[in-house]
C-alpha cells in the first residue's frame, strides 16, 4: 500500500459514531430551562431522576461495559451518603468541600476492599458475593445504632454548604442546578472514559477476556479499577441523595436499592451511555406517579416492570430507540 497520508489531510475515521453533539445540547438546554417552569413537586422528581441517573450510569461501568453483574452496588451509594451525613451532622464538618471528598474516599476504600474479595470469583458466585457484601454493610447500618441511627435512618442532613454565600443551595431550584452541574460533569467524565483506551479495554474484556490477556492486558487489574471507579461514581450519587433527601437509611445500602438500580440499567439499555439515565427516569417517574395514585401497589408495579423489562426489552429501551432513529438517518452500513 502507499505511504500513510499526512496528518493534516486525514479525516478522522468514523469508527462507531458517537451521537453528534446536537441531542446532547438539546437535552442540556431542556434540563436547564425546565426548573424555571416546573412546579416544585416535579422539580424534585427531576432532581431524583438526575441523581439516580448518575447512580445507574455508575453501575453501567461495571455491568454494561465490563460485563460484571453486581447485586451489591448500592453499598457504595449508601456508604458515601452515610459518611457525608455523619461527618456533617455528628462531627460538625460543615463544608461540602471536606465532607464530600471524605465520603468519596470512603466509597473508594469500600470498593477497593470489596473488589479484592468479589473478583476472586465469577458468574453466579460473583452475584452472591456482591450481594452478601452489600448486606454486610446493611446489617452494620441497621445495628450500629449509636453511629447510624439504625433502621429509621440517619436524619438531619442539611443542604450542601459550599462556603460561598452567593451559592446558597437552600432552595430547590438552586439545589437542582447544583445537581445538574455535577451530573453533567460526571456524564462528561464517563463519556471520555467510554471512548478512551481504558474504556475500550473494558468492552474488550466483556467480549473476549482470553483475547485481551493474550494481547497484553492485565484483565484482573482492569476489572478492579473499573469496580472502584464505578463505586466512586455511585458514591457521588449517594452524597447528592443524602443532601437532597435530608436523610439516608439502611435500605439505601441494601439489596432492594441494588436491585432497583440494576433494573434501571437493564430497562434503559446497558450498551449506551445515556440508556441507564432513561431507565432511571422511567422508574422514578412511574414511582412518583404510583405514590400519588396507588401507593400501596408500587412494589407490584415495580415487580411487573422487572418482568417486562427483562423479558421484553432485552437490549433496553435506549438501543431500541437508537436503532429506529438510525434507520431513519443512516446511510445503510448498519443493519439491525
Amino acid at each position: 500500500m502507499g505511504r500513510p497520508s499526512p496528518i493534516q489531510d486525514r479525516k478522522l475515521p468514523a469508527g462507531r459514531p458517537m451521537a453528534s453533539a446536537v441531542p446532547y445540547l438539546t437535552a442540556a438546554v431542556i434540563l436547564f430551562i425546565l426548573p424555571l417552569v416546573l412546579p416544585s413537586y416535579y422539580l424534585s422528581v427531576l432532581t431524583m431522576i438526575l441523581i439516580f441517573g448518575l447512580f445507574a450510569m455508575s453501575l453501567n461501568i461495571i455491568f454494561g461495559h465490563t460485563g460484571l453483574n453486581s447485586l451489591g452496588h448500592a453499598a457504595f451509594f449508601g456508604m458515601a451518603g452515610y459518611i457525608a451525613g455523619i461527618s456533617i451532622v455528628t462531627y460538625g464538618i460543615k463544608s461540602f468541600w471536606i465532607s464530600t471528598p471524605l465520603a468519596l474516599a470512603g466509597a473508594a476504600v469500600t470498593a477497593a476492599v470489596f473488589g479484592v474479595i468479589a473478583l476472586r470469583v465469577s458468574g453466579v458466585y460473583f452475584l452472591l458475593v456482591t450481594f452478601a457484601l452489600g448486606q454486610l454493610l446493611w446489617t452494620i447500618a441497621e445495628k450500629w445504632y449509636s453511629v447510624t441511627m439504625g433502621r429509621s435512618g440517619f436524619v438531619g442532613i442539611p443542604a450542601p454548604d459550599l462556603g460561598i454565600s452567593l451559592l446558597d443551595l437552600g432552595t430547590p431550584v438552586r439545589f437542582y442546578y447544583f445537581v445538574f452541574v455535577i451530573f453533567a460533569l460526571c456524564y462528561y467524565l464517563m463519556a471520555r472514559l467510554h471512548r478512551s483506551p481504558f474504556g475500550y479495554a473494558l468492552q474488550g474484556i466483556r467480549e473476549r477476556e482470553s483475547r485481551m490477556s493474550a494481547l497484553g492486558y492485565n484483565v484482573w487489574l482492569y476489572k478492579y479499577i473499573a469496580y472502584i471507579v464505578a463505586g466512586v461514581f455511585a458514591g457521588v450519587g449517594g452524597i447528592l441523595y443524602a443532601h437532597f433527601n435530608g436523610s439516608i437509611a439502611p435500605s439505601h445500602i441494601g439489596f432492594s436499592n441494588s436491585a432497583l438500580v440494576m433494573l434501571m440499567v437493564i430497562l434503559g439499555g446497558a450498551g449506551t451511555l445515556w440508556g441507564p439515565v432513561l431507565g432511571a427516569a422511567l422508574i422514578v417517574l412511574i414511582q412518583s406517579f404510583a405514590s400519588l395514585v396507588v401507593p400501596a401497589r408500587w412494589p407490584l408495579i415495580l415487580g411487573i416492570l422487572f418482568v417486562v423489562g427483562v423479558m421484553g426489552f432485552r437490549g433496553g429501551i435506549g438501543p431500541h430507540m437508537v436503532k429506529r432513529v438510525r434507520r431513519i438517518f443512516s446511510s445503510g452500513s448498519y443493519q439491525s
Binding site: M1, P4, I7, R10, L12, P13, A14, G15, R16, R192, L193, R195, S196, P197, F198, G199, Y200, A201, Q203, G204, E207, R208, S210, R211, M212, S213, A214, L215, G216, Y217, N218, V219, V229, S333, Y334
Partner: protein, 235 residues
C-alpha cells in the same frame, strides 16, 4: 489423562516450525501451555533464555509472544478498526489512559492502516466484526497478532475454514512476515505446511514421534504409518 507428554523442542529466531498430527494429538494443548493459558504439571517454558513457565498470559505478551486462536477470538460488537486499536494499545502504557479518545491516537491509526491494508481489510475498517465474512475474520485474527510486533508468533490453525483462495492469501502473508521473528504454526493443510515450514514436528497422542526438515518428514516411515492408520480408519 496426559495431553502432552515429554514434549521438548526449541525454535530459534527466524524459524518457521510447523506442528502437525492427527486431531486430539495435543496440539492446541501445547499452544495453551506455551501461551500461558494452561500451567504444565511438569517441565518449563523458556522464552529468549527466561523461564516463563509461571508467568501470566499478559506478561508473556509483553515479552513478545503473540497468539492467534483456533476458534476466532475477536470482539464481535466492535468494528474492525476498533479491534485493531485494542490490539495496538495492548503493550503500550496508554492502554490505561481514561481520558483521551482511542481514535485520536494518530500514530496508532497509521499503524492500523498499515496492517489492515496489508491484509486487505482497510476498506472494512468501520464494519462490525460479526458482519464481515469468516475469511476476513480469520485474517483479522492474524492482523491482531502482528499489532504487537511480536518476537514469537503462535498461529493456531490459521487456514481453518478458509477457501483455497483465502488460504493462498494467508500463506502469502505468513511468507512475508519479518524474517527475524519466530513462527510456530499448527495446521492440517499439507500445502501450507510444506510450503512454509523449515522444520516440522509430528505429534501423536501427546508425544513427538518425528522431527526434522520437510523432506525428512515426508520420507519418514513412522509418520506415514500414523497417517496411513488414519486413512485406514476413514475407509
Amino acid at each position: 489423562m496426559i495431553a502432552t507428554n515429554e514434549v521438548s523442542f526449541r525454535v530459534d529466531a527466524g524459524g518457521r516450525l510447523v506442528i502437525i498430527g492427527p486431531n486430539g494429538a495435543g496440539k492446541s494443548t501445547l499452544f495453551n501451555l506455551l501461551n500461558g493459558q494452561l500451567m504444565p504439571d511438569a517441565g518449563n517454558v523458556f522464552f529468549f533464555g527466561q523461564d516463563v513457565t509461571r508467568l501470566p498470559l499478559h506478561r508473556r505478551a509483553h515479552m513478545g509472544m503473540a497468539r492467534s486462536f483456533q476458534l476466532t477470538s475477536l470482539f464481535p460488537e466492535l468494528s474492525v478498526l476498533e479491534n485493531m486499536m485494542l490490539a495496538l494499545h495492548g503493550l503500550r502504557s496508554s492502554r490505561f489512559n481514561p481520558w483521551r479518545a482511542t481514535l485520536s491516537y494518530w500514530n496508532l491509526l497509521d499503524k492500523a492502516e498499515e496492517l489492515l491494508s496489508l491484509l486487505d481489510l482497510w476498506s472494512k475498517k468501520d464494519d462490525q466484526v460479526h458482519m464481515i465474512s469468516y475469511g476476513e475474520q480469520r485474517k483479522l485474527e492474524i492482523a491482531l497478532c502482528l499489532a504487537s510486533s511480536p518476537r514469537l508468533l503462535l498461529l493456531d490453525e490459521p487456514s481453518a475454514g478458509l477457501t483455497s483462495d483465502e488460504r493462498l492469501a494467508v500463506m502469502e502473508i505468513i511468507r512475508k512476515l519479518p524474517p527475524d521473528i519466530a513462527v510456530i504454526i499448527v495446521d492440517h493443510d499439507m500445502d501450507l505446511v510444506f510450503g512454509l515450514a523449515n522444520r516440522i514436528i509430528v505429534l501423536h497422542y501427546g508425544q513427538i514421534i518425528a522431527e526434522g526438515t520437510p523432506e525428512e518428514i515426508q520420507a519418514d516411515p513412522r509418520v506415514k504409518e500414523v497417517y496411513m492408520g488414519m486413512e485406514e480408519e476413514k475407509t
